[in-house]
């Protein structure tokens, strides 16, 4: 029973990360109708920027986190401006290819700057605590609480601010939003900033527990795609629900499946579901 609870706890922790990363991705895909293949790599870069600001410069964990999230927001805006906006009027596949270019660029950037060997961010809260029979570190608990706070904050932002409402409107219906006179370019840039910033939050929360490596974004990014497609593009509840679900399935199924094939099942499930329902589990929109 304890082992089961422990696995559930781990599942929720990974699910928190998945949910945040998928959240940022679903917004971008809903807004721009293009798959940002580099989204996982934004997560990776967020982790490294925390290392840079927190450890290399010495701002410490919390201050480093704030600075790295802000810096990633800028990176998001730059990415939208430099890579995607010039391709707005061109065939969609050109933007797909540019996304692959960004992915290669970001990964080799991290490789060049920080090297291929794993880096460790000092864990600010390594103390262990025990709740309900589960032994865990405070940092792991922080991942879960941080994710809940971020999701709640983002929800409030979407529902209570005009900018948030605008983003949601564009995500759900780009043409309709354009007709009502919304500046879609500004919304796109803001969405990229939020998307990259939230990915950095997820990376900052999780990276004191695991090593940083330039390739860590690739698989996570793909899992985010799986979640977004299953949850429906542009759907925030779908991304959150799907994120926690995937985390739990992996944690609980991990004992029965071999570790090497764990990812195969997630991607296999995606192909299978798309075969049966080509528009995703909850989605209606074709992109």
């Amino acid at each position: 029973m304890d082992l089961f609870l422990q696995q559930v706890f781990n599942g929720i922790m990974f699910g928190s990360t998945y949910a945040i990363v998928a959240l940022g991705l679903t917004l971008v895909m809903g807004i721009l109708n293009i798959p940002n293949f580099a989204h996982g790599h934004l997560y990776m870069l967020g982790g490294y920027l925390l290392f840079f600001f927190g450890s290399t410069i010495g701002l410490g964990y919390w201050f480093g986190l704030i600075v790295s999230v802000a810096a990633m927001g800028v990176v998001g805006v730059l990415m939208e401006r430099i890579v995607y906006r010039p391709l707005n009027d061109q065939p969609h596949i050109n933007a797909f290819i540019a996304a692959v270019g960004s992915l290669l660029f970001l990964e080799s950037f991290a490789l060049v700057v920080w090297g291929s060997q794993g880096l460790r961010i000092p864990n600010p809260y390594p103390q262990m605590i025990e709740i309900m029979g589960i032994t865990t570190s405070i940092q792991r608990l922080l991942v879960i609480i941080g994710a809940v706070l971020l999701i709640a904050g983002l929800h409030l932002f979407m529902k209570k601010t005009i900018l948030g409402a605008t983003i949601e409107a564009v995500a759900q219906n780009r043409e309709g939003a354009m007709l009502t006179g919304i500046n879609v370019n500004r919304v796109s840039a803001m969405t990229f900033a939020i998307s990259a910033g939230t990915a950095a939050v997820a990376a900052s929360l999780l990276s004191p527990i695991f090593m940083l490596s330039p390739s860590m974004g690739a698989i996570l990014g793909m899992k985010a795609f799986v979640i977004v497609i299953l949850g429906g593009m542009g759907s925030i509840p779908g991304a959150i629900f799907g994120g926690y679900l995937l985390g739990l399935i992996e944690a609980l199924g991990g004992g029965y499946l071999s570790a090497a094939y764990k990812d195969v099942f997630a991607f296999g499930a995606l192909i299978l579901i798309l075969s049966i329902k080509p528009t995703g589990l909850f989605g209606q929109k074709e992109v």
Binding site: H92, I93, I97, V100, S102, F105, I219, Y261, L274, V287
Partner: protein, 334 residues
Amino acid sequence: MFTKPIHTKLLYLAILAAALLLPWYVPDAYIFQIVTMSILYAVAASGMNLILGFTGQVTLAHGAFFGMGAYGVAIMTKAGIIFWLALPVSALIAAFIGLLIGLPTLRTRGAYFAIVTLCFGVIVWIVSGNWVELTGGHNGIFGIPRPSPIPVPFFGQIEFFSQTSMYYLSLAVLLLVLFALYRLVYSVFGLTFMAVRNNEPLADSVGINTYATKLISFVAGNFIAGLAGGMYAAIMGAVSPSAAGYMLTFNFLIFVILGGMATLPGPVVGAFAIPVLMEFMQFLDDYRMLIFGALLIVVIIYFPMGLVGGLRRLNQKVAARRQQKVSESGHASR
């Protein structure tokens, strides 16, 4: 209808002659190996170009289908099946698995297909590294035999033990693939690929089965990838998961885009120019992918037709200016 100007034909003939005589003026075994690999990459990239460039479907599993061909030949020839049977069978397996993946996913438009193929590429890569009984795991398979000699009446037999003979075999495969693609693409049938890429609803409305067109393109492109992979296994004598990896897909993508997508010479130019460039850029080491990643973005934004497309446009401009000059001088003399 689809003819090329005479000077372009002459250029192609010169390149062909240079390629045929290459073993005489490139004695360096290492460079020779790079050129042979480039031929195979050109074959695979041409297959990707059929799907991506001409039909407009972003496939990100091309390395996986290349790997299926490579592992297919490796496994079959190790099991005693002759290469000349193993190669087409491996390519057919790649094509068939492509059909299975394409059937459900090509009904959807755009992003879904790209994402699913990316995921499928990763699956194949993971499986190739972990299914030890079949693929040898991370060590891969080595000691793959060379193709058996072909008996030729009155002549003896053609043997494939030397690097030179494998070079000519690869060149023959490339020429055959380009010839087939040339026939397919420059025809009314080929126009339907471009119709699907350009305007799918209109293609539908003029009686083109767009779904079947995409499937044919995807299956044919994967067959070509499998063919290239099978040749790779025979030449290298060994395969490892990197021959099925998604980095390979990205390399093919770079060849196609920088060389010029939706042009037949584009992927060939890319597959030859870029590995050579990378050799010269050896000192840059890790920076190479940084540069090519950035280059991919710049080219797709400003020169979406790549190097070959850019040269063609330049050629047209020169031709137009010359014509203008001729007509001007004609007016002057009057």
